[in-house]
Amino acid sequence: MSKSGTILYLDGVSRSFDGFKAINNLSLVLDKGEMRAIIGPNGAGKTTMMDIITGKTKPDTGEVFYDGQIDLTRHDEAEIAMMGIGRKFQKPTVFESHTVEDNIVLSLKGPRSIFPALFHKRSAGEQRRIEEIFSTIRLGDKRHDLAANLSHGQKQWLEIGMLLAQDPKLLLVDEPVAGMTDAETEETARLLKEISKTHSVIVVEHDMHFVRELGVKVTCLHEGSVLSEGTLDFVSADERVVEVYLGR
């Protein structure tokens, strides 16, 4: 396998916690501009994989490359985020004591050092970008509300908005539709498909309906390694996937 042309390249990655192998010889390649859905039962290693890609956890063995040549195991979370990998957590994590707008402001792409932040004045360009994001995530009328007062689904959208504000090249989206109504779920699928036109995306999701909606290549993880990979129809026809995950 060649690394060139890939946005993300994982090869032979393992990580264990006190003997428990959360990730076991995992290999996964994501091409530039691709959107991939990842499914798998609880404990399959989806979150640990995200942790490894975003620098929160270091793998015991294996290679993790970003954009063909950057070794992600040598960098920490902030550096990796600055390189253009954005992450949405499984449990929506927003700054609850800030307003919705401030959440976006803190996420906007730009210098990340202390003194610029201390003397920061919002530019017209930034204002435009904020408006853009609000129109995408449709929270413009709540911009002065505290993030703590949003509903669960709104928080999910706010977090996606924060991700967009970062303007990353690769988005890792962990269970974006958990706790959403059907309408919201459809809306989110539409939004992600929109995003995937200009970004590479990895979506972890349990909701098969949603995954089908996305209509992209699917990877099924089990016990820390890839069990099956292909179109959703191919994967859901796989005997082993049915055995461990989908059920009969």
Binding site: V94, F95, E96
Partner: protein, 408 residues
Amino acid sequence: MISGKFFVAGADRRIAITILILVAVAILVPVLNIAFPPDSALHVPSYMVALIGKYLCYALLALSLDLVWGYCGILSLGHGAFFALGGYAMGMYLMRQIGDRGVYGNPILPDFMVFLNWKELPWFWYGFDQFWFAALMVMLVPGLLAFCFGWLAFRSRVTGVYLSIITQAMTYALLLAFFRNDMGFGGNNGLTDFKDILGFNVQANTTRSALFAASALALALGVFVTWRIIGSKYGKLLMAVRDAESRTRFLGWRAENVKLFAFTVSAVMAGIAGALYVPQVGIINPGEFDPANSIEVVVWTAVGGRATIVGPIIGALLVNAGKSWFTGVLPEFWLFALGGLFVFVTLFLPKGVVGMYDQWKAGRGHRLKAAATGDAPPLAPVSPAVESARAEKGWQVPSGGPEPAAAE
């Protein structure tokens, strides 16, 4: 939402009022002390000037703690160390000003060095005969210590109670160190018997008044600086780090640098407070490094209300006034009262006096507005569940250690 804006405006107005009051006090109290004769009803006695001046220094110390604890969730149990270091830097200047008026009459060496049979001034005492140098050191030494300490601690992500405990160990280590005679800071007795500051007699009423004014103005400046920091994008970031540190990292922010800046600024503020404190009380000794002192600062801040800027000032004034009263009337019971205060505030007043007032006022505002518009009256500005979650988050830094089982 309007209430959000209104609240912000309210907070700003409160800051402005606080600064105005402090400036007014800085002018009025010295005038009332000096211009009116002692038998006048308007006369402020000198001991009151000294006492309140001392409290104002404490208030600045509490404010500095609020910056890191209230807004960044770093519960420092070693802020007394920065205060004391600033105090020592000022004390060294004051010692050098004594000149040959000491008991032993040595023009260069302070009395305790002559007593210890030292022949020359240790290198770290050089320059302290100059006020500008001492003033620089007042800020530089605590700032540098905080920077180095914070750099090590935050970089390796020591958080929560672990951080609290090692800050306590830091001030404890300094306590032990400064007790040693051969450290060159006067050992057990510390630095005292000051004569002049900038050529004025430290005992004189006018000097005391000037020091009082300086303390009040420094506190006003501290309020202003803290308010500006908190209001900036950095300030929002600081609170974001407090509430969800790892989220900020995944957004590309270096949470350790965010904390380090606040910690260092806060230490410098504490150092300035210590420097203003020493000439007013006339002594600095290693007792200031006692971990118990640092933790007392925490209770001032908690009583007033964290993350409110004004709260810590009110807390410091209230608790210290209470302490003065208690030690005068029932000295035996002061520690009971202080201990009880710790328990009471954490159990029943987690937001402090100012926080409670805000909550009460916000609740009343809502009810009034609701009554006017005929809406169903909401019980609280935000839902109680969210409120309690927020209160919890504010107190609880994402702990580095195993969470207590109940946290799950």
